[in-house]
């Protein structure tokens, strides 16, 4: 579980996060949504320890991040996996080398043990046979699956995903969403996903946090998001024509 208390972050005069307080539960897919510029990415980077908050605390389990020394912060980071928006795979490494990278850096496994673990994880994300390919030789959807495999190869306690299905076709996006949800449940990890894709919200949104201009505007689950009267949330949700038509049908009682 991750608990965020009164989080503030700015850059110079610009205040990006203005006192966000929320919790992300273990074994659930937690989604951060909001329009562009709402502070989603800064919030996620604060959770990852890439940005230092000006005020507030982030607690992982029972451990407050800002109370840890540098070594303890690095130890905690080893328990985190991250799937970047553009996958962020290392260009010069093959698929297998990308997935093996965290094992080489942080474990004392033998080469044989690492190869077994890499094969297991690649099999889990349905990428058997792609291990010798370079990232440039595989599709965007496959790159995302490699990124997920790399993120989970060390059995992290926390998984963070920044717009994991951006740039993917709707069918592949659903495959990626479901894969993340299955992995979250299977490994009982705390997953936080940054997205503005309403299909993801519908598919896997067990907890949804809506940010607006740096404030936490609304939080709930995927069933509650269609019931809320919060104007900012309804404007966001029904900005899509498909959801607008669903809403109109609902209101007409169809």
């Amino acid at each position: 579980m991750i608990h965020v208390e009164n989080l503030h972050k700015g850059f110079g005069e610009a205040k990006i996060l203005k006192g966000v307080t929320t919790s992300f539960e273990k074994g659930k897919t937690n989604l951060i949504i909001g329009t562009s510029g709402s502070g989603k990415t800064v919030f996620l980077k604060c959770l990852l320890g890439l940005f230092t908050p000006e005020q507030g605390t982030i607690t992982y389990g029972n451990t407050a991040y800002n109370e840890l020394n540098e070594q303890e912060q690095r130890d905690l980071k080893e328990q985190m996996g991250m799937v970047f928006q553009g996958s962020a795979l290392f260009d010069s490494m093959t698929v297998a080398e990308n997935v093996r990278f965290p094992l080489e850096m942080f474990t004392k496994k033998t080469k044989k043990e690492m190869n077994i673990r890499v094969s297991e994880v690649l099999e889990r994300v349905n990428l058997e046979g792609a291990d010798l390919k370079l990232p440039s030789e595989i599709s965007g959807g496959m790159q995302k699956r490699v990124a997920i495999a790399r993120a989970i190869v060390t059995n992290p306690k926390y998984l963070f995903c920044d717009e994991p299905n951006s740039g993917l076709d709707p069918k592949t996006a659903i495959v990626i969403d479901n894969l993340i949800k299955e992995i979250t449940e299977e490994f009982d990890i705390t997953t936080v996903i940054n997205t503005h894709d309403m299909n993801s919200v519908m598919e896997i949104g067990e907890k949804i946090v809506f940010l607006k201009q740096g404030y936490l505007e609304w939080e709930g689950d995927k069933s509650q998001i269609f019931q809320t009267d919060n104007k900012a949330v309804t404007d966001f949700v029904y900005s899509s024509n498909l959801f607008k038509k669903v809403r109109e049908a609902q209101l007409k009682g169809l």
């Binding site: 980071k77 260009d91 965290p102 080489e104 850096m105 942080f106």
Partner: protein, 245 residues
């Protein structure tokens, strides 16, 4: 003020490069890869340029020896001095600022743009140590490249001078060995080590701290070439002033 900030940031980066070392087994592989990318892959262009510039130096010297009182041995002497003192260490370094420097800046810059550096940071890895330290170690082999350049430069001068009919074999060899000062080699290799450090770190700095997208990667490569060249020329002047004047 901006330039002072940049210089300060550069030295802070150097300090961070030597902090929190990457696992030795991983580092070993990275260093071997960098030796291949930065040194071995530069052998061809360095050999080609050195041989032909050495040849041109010999021909130019010969063509300007119009006074019959000046001995033809000067062709060998001039080839040796110009290649050892300046051409190989300094001008090959300027060429390497373009070849190796732009490679380093664009590869690190692309890693920045595509969030690969963020990925390293999220894993708790000191990305500066992981990316820059292997390059510094690999460039310790740069003086070997310069030694090859010196040999080929003088060989080029010999071939052009002797087989071009400007000087005899004995005259060239006599000039080559005449008044040789071993300290000139010390001076030359000392500055080569410093240039190697600059060639590894200044382009890394420009790549690592770049902001923006693909266009900015290209701009950063150009900026890195300019500043690496400026640094090489400045350091060359300072070392020459201290050691030879």
């Amino acid at each position: 003020m901006f330039y002072l900030q940049q210089i300060g940031a550069y030295f802070l980066m150097i300090k961070e490069v030597f902090n929190r070392m990457t696992k030795p087994s991983v580092l070993r592989k990275l260093i071997l890869k960098e030796i291949d990318d930065l040194v071995i892959n530069s052998l061809g262009i360095v050999a080609f340029i050195s041989f032909f510039i050495g040849a041109v130096v010999a021909i130019q010297t010969a063509l300007n020896l119009t006074n019959p009182l000046i001995p033809r041995e000067l062709i060998g002497f001039a080839s040796r001095q110009s290649v050892i003192l300046e051409f190989s260490p300094t001008f090959i370094s300027v060429i390497m600022a373009g070849k190796v420097g732009s490679f380093i800046t664009s590869s690190i810059g692309t890693m920045r743009v595509t969030e690969q550096i963020d990925a390293l940071e999220v894993m708790g890895i000191n990305s500066l140590n992981y990316l820059v330290f292997p390059k510094i170690i690999a460039m310790l082999l740069y003086p070997f490249l310069i030694a090859i350049s010196m040999f080929l430069g003088i060989l080029g001068g010999y071939v052009a001078g002797v087989y071009g009919g400007f000087v005899t074999n004995d005259e060239f060899i006599a000039g080559l060995t005449d008044d040789f000062t071993p300290f000139h080699l010390v001076y030359s290799f000392l500055k080569t080590f410093i240039f190697a450090f600059l060639l590894a770190t200044i382009p890394s700095f420009h790549g690592f701290y770049m902001k923006g997208g693909a266009l900015e990667v290209g701009k950063a490569s150009t900026t890195s070439f300019v500043w690496t060249t400026v640094a090489v020329i400045m350091v060359n002047y300072i070392i020459t002033q201290i050691l030879l004047s």
